[in-house]
Structures are given as structure tokens and as C-alpha cells.
């Protein structure tokens, strides 16, 4: 009942087609992660190039060329992924491209990297959203409960996503478009006023500036490259659309590719616009107030538009997690179908979403949030390594794809993807070398560990498949040595029915089993058994501490020793009164349920439930 209220009515498989999303909702679902990086990518660059031996002036001089390089890289990656979408319309992005063209090893590296990134995306986005919420003066008191607040947000996002991609997309589209609109106004208005000479620079505050100097200093190549790799976080989430192509309305590939182009244009222009605006307005990197907020105040003042900007920023930072919710379960399902993850992850739930994957993501991100006390900023450097690893593998895989398939225009495809592979490969090297000590080493440990897990799971499935192979000679009916035990709680019509059923099995051995608390109890049941003249021997096992399960298991062990049986069938008369989960039902079948659960794991033991209905006969529930 609660599930239906929260998640909605079950959807039939035939409704799958209606769950597909259009370009507008698709942009909100699959691009909120990428677009949200416009809120912090410029600041991330400044935090590297304007501090240390450098200065604010020198950092701002370098900002625009770096932003231009990042935007160019984005254009290459977007173009490459558009090709991936058309070549692999069933989705899966880097994992599938690598699997089809580079082999098992690279595909597992891509898959593990992406899964780690999606978990990090949720943890970091939620953490950033909570930080924005507790920054609101009237809500500062919640700062000490940031973990609880983060977990509440995860539960809300999880519930919305369990309702379906279409519903969560509709729900979260408004904040995404609000953010894009208000940011576009900020950039356009700010640049126009700045170039018109109506907008002064932001007054420099030496107390709040995190760096050493306002001007002068020196900036080496290493710091420039490190700044570039920091700005490259703007590209995180770009691959999301290529992973989720089947979620789009038909023609899915064309709609996904158009959405990818739209996302690239929005992300590239806004990121570059914010960087140019920063170059004009001279905000300074500070932990007191974000670069974004400084520029918002400078352009909008402290009026309603500034407030809208801040609220929309908080919303998009939180909703970046939604992209991971859309992609992680889908990727898990593809990897699970290849037997590298538990097969439950390949199942769609009754709302036609991969519910197990959604819950898995929520639990993993929630655990990270708790482990880091709700402050997951330290995890940001971990992103870039995984993202650029999967980018590089995907582009390289596409080069192989074009050379193998040789479709019309394949040479152009090779050129685009080879450029993409080289560019993202270089960025990977830069990120790994410049941010190694800041956490980029972690994926080097985590990704191989996940791959080892993938392989162990696949090995298990292969072993099971081999062990289950059947030969024609094995399927011929054969006579079993069969023992049947009917469990008796007290004598009632249900027991009579169960005994009738037991006899119909024509077993080699048949017995009724009663677990007694004491001698008086045993004598009473023995007396009843005699009065009813049951022709089935009654066995009584004493259990002074009323441990039903262990007593029954002990008796079955004794039977195993007594007779060389192929199979033991335990018949449990099941009292049915009312609905399956009604209080009456639970009251009567509590011990039977626990016993059944225990026996389901016992070797060579068939557990059979014979229902006994109490009350007037009616139609089947």
C-alpha cells in the first residue's frame, strides 16, 4: 500500500513505449550533471591558477585560454559521442563500445570507472546541495545535521526515480531549465554591461581572497596544466546521454544525438561565458563566497534575481545526482546481462525501471555520504580520472568500430574519434599526474578491485551454467526413495488434508512429526492421535526451549541417517485466514514461516505447503 502511494501503480511491459522521453525532458534527465558543472568549473580553475606562486591577475589572464581549451575538448567529445549514439543505439556508452571493439579488459575498466563515477556523482551532488541549503542564513542551524539532510535528499531522489524516468524527468525538468535560463541572463547581461562600461570590477577583498597576491607572481606550465585538468571537470556527465539512448522516444538515436548537441551547446557556451565574465569582473577564489555568487551579486545586485540564481544553483547541484540515477541502473543492467554483476540488476521493476540498480546506487552513495560526514568535496578529484578513462576507451573503441565496419564517411569518423581519443587520453595523463596526490590514485585501487569482483561474479555464473548442463539420460522418470514428513502443531482439519496429500505421494516412508514442549504436551497429542485413529505413525521430538526449527532439522538429520533417501518432503499445513499479510495470518503462520525459510536451505529437502482455509469458501484472492 505504502509502496503504491510512493512509487505508483505497476506498469505493464506493454506500457514501456509510453515511458520513453522526449528531447526536452531527456535534456533535463541526462544533462543536469554536465550542466551543473558550470556552477563550479570556472572556480576550480581559478583555485589552481590564481593561488600559490601565481596571483589573481595572472590567474584571470590564463582563465580564458584554459576555458577555450576545455570548450574545444568538449566539442570534440560531444561530436565523438554523437557518433557513438548512432553506432550503438542500444545504449551502454563506453562500456558497450569498448566491449564490442576493444575486448573484455578495456570494457570492464570502462564499466567499473563509470559505475564509480555515478556513485561519486550522487554523493558529491547531494553534499553540494546540502551545503547550499545550510548556507541559507535561516537554515544554518541544520549544518550539524548535514548527513541526515543528505540522506533525506537521497531518499527523495530514489523515490522519484523508482516512479520512472519519465516522471522523475518531468519533476526535475523545471529547476534545470530555470538554472539554464537564469545563468544565460547572468552571462548575457553581465557581458553587455561590462563591455558597455556600466559594470565595475568586483572590489578585491584581501581578507577573503585565498591566494597570496593580487598581481605579479609567476605561473608555470605544471600549474596551467593542473588548472586545465581542474576545468575539465566541466566534462563530467557528458557521456550520460550515450548510455541512455533507449530511454528516448523513437527515433531514439536521432533524438538522443540532437539532445547531446543541445547539451554541448548549452554547456560549452555557458561555461565559456562564465569564464569570460569572470575575466571581466575579477572575482576571487574564496571559501567564504563562491565565484558564482560574487558575480551574481555584481550583476543582479542582492535582489530577487540573485536569490533565484542561488536557489537554482543549489537545485541543479543536487539534481546532478539525477543523471546518475538515470544512467547507473541502466549500465548495471547491461553489465549484469553480461554476467559481471548480479542478475537481479538486469530486472526491471513493476514501474519498468531498473529498481534494484536504483536502490543499489542509493545505498552506495548514502554509505559514502555517511563515511565522509556529508563533506564529499574531497572526492571531486576522483571523478576526472574515471571520466577521462571511459572517454578515452570509448573514442578509441569508435576508431576501431569505423575501421571494422567501414560505413559511408568512415574516414571522417576515424579522424573525429582519433582526435577525441588523443585529446581525452592526454587530459587523462595530465589529471593523473597533476592530481595524483589529491586523490587521483584512489581509482587506481578501486577500479581494479571492482574488476576483480566482476570477474569473480562471472566465474560463478559460468561455473553454475556448467554444473547445470543436462543430458537426455538424466531426464528419464526414475523411482525415488521418498520419505514424507507431515508437521503437526495440533490436530485440526488442515492436518487431515496434509495427511491425505502425503499419502497421495505414495512415499516409501511416511511419518507425522510433533515437537513437544514437555511430557504432558507429548501425552496429550499422542492421546489425540489415537482418538482420531490416524494410520500414520506419529513421531514426537522434545524441545523444552520451544525451538521448532532446530528440533525439526534434528529429526530430519536423524531420518537421513536412518534411511538412504533420495528426497525428503516436509509437508507444512498452512493455516489461511484472511489476506496473506493480515494480522491473523501472521499470528498463525509465524513459526511455520520461519521453519519454511530454514528448510528451504536444507539439502535434498522438498518443502511443501498445503493450505488450509478457515472461513467461508470464496473466490481465489
Amino acid at each position: 500500500m505504502l509502496k503504491r502511494v510512493l512509487v505508483g501503480r505497476p506498469l505493464a511491459s506493454s506500457e514501456q513505449e509510453h515511458q520513453r522521453i522526449g528531447k526536452l525532458v531527456g535534456l533535463a534527465v541526462f544533462s543536469s550533471d554536465a550542466i551543473s558543472s558550470t556552477a563550479y568549473a570556472t572556480e576550480e580553475i581559478l583555485f589552481v591558477v590564481a593561488l600559490g606562486t601565481s596571483s589573481l591577475a595572472l590567474g584571470l589572464e590564463t582563465l580564458v585560454p584554459i576555458a577555450l581549451a576545455v570548450a574545444a575538448l568538449l566539442a570534440v567529445v560531444v561530436t565523438s559521442y554523437r557518433q557513438t549514439i548512432f553506432a550503438y543505439p542500444s545504449g551502454g556508452g563506453s562500456y558497450v563500445v569498448s566491449r564490442e571493439n576493444l575486448g573484455r579488459g578495456p570494457s570492464l575498466v570502462a564499466g567499473a570507472s563509470l559505475l564509480v563515477d555515478y556513485v561519486l556523482t550522487v554523493a558529491v551532488s547531494i553534499s553540494a546541495g546540502v551545503a547550499a541549503i545550510v548556507s541559507i542564513p535561516s537554515l544554518r542551524g541544520l549544518a550539524e545535521r548535514r548527513v541526515a539532510l543528505g540522506l533525506v535528499l537521497i531518499v527523495l531522489l530514489t523515490t522519484a526515480n523508482l516512479r520512472g524516468v519519465k516522471e522523475s524527468g518531468r519533476l526535475f525538468a523545471a529547476p534545470t531549465y530555470l538554472y539554464v535560463a537564469v545563468l544565460a541572463v547572468l552571462v548575457a547581461w553581465g557581458l553587455i554591461e561590462s563591455f558597455a562600461g556600466d559594470l565595475p570590477r568586483i572590489p578585491f577583498d584581501a581578507d577573503e581572497f585565498e591566494g597570496a597576491r593580487q598581481a605579479g607572481g609567476s605561473l608555470g606550465l605544471f600549474l596551467v596544466l593542473k588548472g586545465f585538468s581542474s576545468g575539465a571537470v566541466a566534462l563530467t556527465g557528458v557521456e550520460a546521454i550515450s548510455n541512455g539512448v533507449p530511454a528516448f522516444r523513437r527515433p531514439a538515436a536521432r533524438n538522443a544525438a540532437a539532445t547531446m548537441a543541445l547539451m554541448g551547446a548549452i554547456l560549452g557556451s555557458l561555461f565559456f561565458g562564465v569564464s569570460v565574465l569572470a575575466h571581466r569582473l575579477h572575482p576571487f577564489p574564496s571559501h567564504q563566497e563562491t565565484v558564482f555568487s560574487q558575480m551574481g551579486r555584481a550583476v543582479f545586485g542582492e535582489g530577487p534575481l540573485y536569490l533565484v540564481l542561488q536557489v537554482a544553483t543549489a537545485a541543479i547541484l543536487t539534481l546532478a545526482a539525477n543523471t546518475a540515477y538515470a544512467d547507473f541502473p541502466r549500465l548495471c543492467s547491461i553489465i549484469a546481462r553480461d554476467s559481471y554483476l548480479p542478475r537481479q540488476l538486469a530486472n526491471r521493476g513493476d514501474r519498468l525501471v531498473f529498481s534494484n540498480g536504483i536502490v543499489f546506487l542509493a545505498v552506495a552513495a548514502g554509505a559514502l555520504l555517511v563515511a565522509f560526514g556529508g563533506l564529499t568535496n574531497a572526492l571531486i578529484p576522483l571523478y576526472a580520472v574515471g571520466v577521462f578513462t571511459s572517454f578515452t576507451l570509448s573514442q578509441w573503441g569508435m576508431v576501431r568500430h569505423h575501421r571494422r565496419v567501414r560505413e559511408p564517411g568512415w574516414r571522417r569518423g576515424v579522424a573525429v574519434n582519433a582526435t577525441g581519443a588523443t585529446a581525452t587520453g592526454l587530459v587523462l595523463l595530465i589529471v593523473a599526474s597533476t592530481k595524483f596526490t589529491s586523490g587521483a590514485w584512489v581509482p587506481l585501487v578501486v577500479v581494479p578491485a571492482i574488476i576483480a569482483l566482476f570477474l569473480a561474479i562471472a566465474r560463478h555464473y559460468v561455473s553454475i551454467d556448467q554444473a547445470l548442463v543436462i543430458e537426455p539420460a538424466q531426464v528419464r522418470p526414475e523411482v525415488l526413495n521418498h520419505t514424507v514428513v507431515v508437521l503437526v502443531g495440533r490436530v485440526h482439519r488442515g492436518v487431515v488434508k496434509a495427511l491425505q496429500y502425503a499419502r497421495s505421494l505414495r512415499p516409501n516412508h511416511l511419518a507425522a512429526l510433533y515437537v513437544s514442549e514437555d511430557d504432558h504436551d507429548a501425552a496429550a497429542i499422542r492421546d489425540q492421535w489415537r482418538r482420531f485413529r490416524f494410520d500414520v505413525p506419529l513421531e514426537i521430538v522434545a524441545s523444552p526451549y520451544r525451538e521448532l526449527t532446530s528440533a525439526v532439522e534434528g529429526f530430519l538429520d536423524e531420518l537421513d541417517r536412518r534411511w538412504d533417501d533420495d528426497t525428503v518432503t516436509v509437508i507444512i499445513p498452512e493455516f489461511v485466514a484472511g489476506r496473506l499479510l493480515s494480522p491473523t495470518q501472521l499470528l498463525h503462520n509465524q513459526s511455520a514461516g520461519a521453519l519454511k525459510l530454514a528448510l528451504l536451505f536444507r539439502k535434498n529437502t522438498v518443502v511443501t505447503s498445503v493450505p488450509f482455509h478457515v472461513g467461508r469458501p470464496g473466490p481465489q484472492r
Binding site: 511491459s13 548480479p342 542478475r343 566465474r459 548442463v469 537426455p472 538424466q474 523411482v479 496429500y501 496473506l580
Partner: protein
């Protein structure tokens, strides 16, 4: 209540043509009534492969029924079918195979479809559900290049 006008029915649930069927196939001859194997055809290709294997394995003595899930989950589809079949029969016995793995953690890697189906069939009138463990011995199995 009208008297049963159809014989009892034994339904053997089958997911694939593998050893999971064995305990049920060995038990069927001991049970009274008409017997039938039932596969819920979620994946039409898998269903076709099962039908072909059924013939190859010489299982013609046990008719195989392929049931369309009709948008329902496997467990719900089985329940719907069993409810229909139970009408006018003295009893329907459903044999549900379930893997019997050595380590409990290995259950995490399997869907537990059998247990889920058994749960869905609980309490249905004239329906007896038997969960049959299928022992899997991985000791002598070599997963090859894996």
C-alpha cells in the same frame, strides 16, 4: 460449492532446459493427476530454445506449456495461471525448483525466482506448492578461461 470436474494437476515450473528440472521430473511420476511443465515466456527466444531442447531431451511424456506473462511479472503470471487451473480441480500441485547453493552469499547472485513464486502462491485454495532444492556441486567444475 461445485464438485471438482477436472482431474488434479501437477505443474512443473521450468526456466531453462537444465539440471534445475531434474528433482521435479523425478517426482512427477509419484504424483496423481495430469502433469504439465510450465514456462513463462518472458523472452521469446529463450522460450523457443527451451521448446527445441524439450524435444531433444526426449521430454515428450511431459507436455510443455509456454505462457505469455501478459505484462505481469513471472511470479504474478504463474499465480494467475494457477488460479485459473485450480478452478474445478481437486488440487493443483506446483513444483518450484530453487538452486541449493553451498554458500549463503551466493544467493545474492541469483534472483530467487522460485522462492518468490512460492510466496505468491501461498494460501491459494486447492494449491499445494513444493519448493524443490537443486543441489549444485561446483567442486568439479572448471570455469575455463574465466
Amino acid at each position: 460449492m461445485t464438485a471438482p470436474h477436472r482431474p488434479g494437476l501437477v505443474l512443473v515450473l521450468v526456466g531453462a532446459a537444465d539440471r534445475r528440472m531434474l528433482p521435479a521430473l523425478h517426482l512427477v511420476p509419484q504424483l496423481d493427476g495430469e502433469a504439465r511443465a510450465l514456462h513463462v515466456a518472458v523472452d521469446p527466444e529463450q522460450a523457443a530454445a527451451l521448446a527445441a531442447a524439450w524435444v531433444q531431451l526426449g521430454l515428450a511424456w511431459l507436455p510443455l506449456e509456454l505462457a505469455e506473462p501478459g505484462g505481469a511479472t513471472v511470479a504474478a503470471a504463474v499465480r494467475n495461471l494457477v488460479v485459473r487451473e485450480a478452478a474445478g480441480r481437486p488440487r493443483v500441485t506446483v513444483l518450484v525448483p530453487e538452486l541449493d547453493l553451498r554458500w549463503r552469499w551466493q544467493l545474492l547472485l541469483h534472483r530467487g525466482c522460485g522462492r518468490e513464486i512460492a510466496w505468491h502462491l501461498q494460501g491459494l485454495r486447492r494449491v499445494v506448492t513444493a519448493v524443490l532444492p537443486v543441489p549444485v556441486d561446483l567442486a568439479g567444475v572448471s570455469p575455463g578461461s574465466w
